[in-house]
Amino acid sequence: MTEAAHYQKLKEIVAIYLPEDVSVDAITQESHFINELNINSANLVDIVLDVEDAFDITLENEDMDQMETVQDALGIIDIKLAKES
């Protein structure tokens, strides 16, 4: 899967958890999940669990702590995929 495909897949997951007042178009690589996309910490956990299923990877508490933006998440996905392949 290419970087662009990872991004597309992540965007589809994030879109499910966006609050009503944030549009899907607001998602960019630089978006901060909590401060910009208004996703609460409880929904961020659901995003992480969906990411684990979608990419067949396992995330740790440290990964979760570092996952502030969409770009951070893509970076963590890449590292995990590289380790597990």
């Binding site: 609460n40 910490s41 409880a42 961020l44 956990v45």
Partner: protein, 148 residues
């Protein structure tokens, strides 16, 4: 087994404690009970001349037993003085009324507890074993380091 140490760590007190006893606690789930005393003040207003336990309080009872008591057990640490909890979602269905004086039993089954979020399937039964309400609840558990 006596689970009073879990109840003692709950961050609630009268008039907002809705747990009397716990009967079973494990990593996968919990069972507990509570009696809605006839004297509880809200019955004067819900409803006027027709006291029925509000659904929000049945949900609260499910959350205190099914999420918070189970979460305290799962946190598996002795120092919970800086525990912060937040109710993050609830999806409940109500099937039967609960009248003043009824004892209810709550059963909760863990769906997952990861990244400080506990999500559970809960069911509340009345004294004769009929299902009163059921649903899925989740909450966040966090120990703050500075106690702030």
């Amino acid at each position: 087994m006596n689970y009073s140490h879990i109840i003692a760590q709950l961050p609630y007190s009268e008039p907002f404690l809705f747990v009397d006893a716990l009967q079973e606690v494990s990593k996968e789930g919990i069972k507990g009970s509570y009696t809605f005393s006839k004297d509880l003040d809200f019955y004067r207003g819900h409803f006027k001349e027709n006291p029925v336990t509000p659904g929000v309080l049945l949900t609260e009872c499910c959350a205190q037993i099914g999420l918070v008591c189970l979460g305290i057990h799962l946190m598996a640490t002795s120092d919970l003085s800086n525990l912060q909890i937040g109710f993050s979602s609830s999806e409940m269905e109500f099937l039967l009324p609960v009248y003043p004086g009824e004892k209810v039993r709550v059963r909760s089954e863990k769906i997952y507890f990861r990244f400080n979020k506990l999500k559970c399937k809960v069911q509340l039964y009345n004294e004769v074993g009929e299902l009163v309400c059921k649903g899925v609840l989740s909450g966040m558990f966090k120990i703050t380091e500075d106690g702030a």
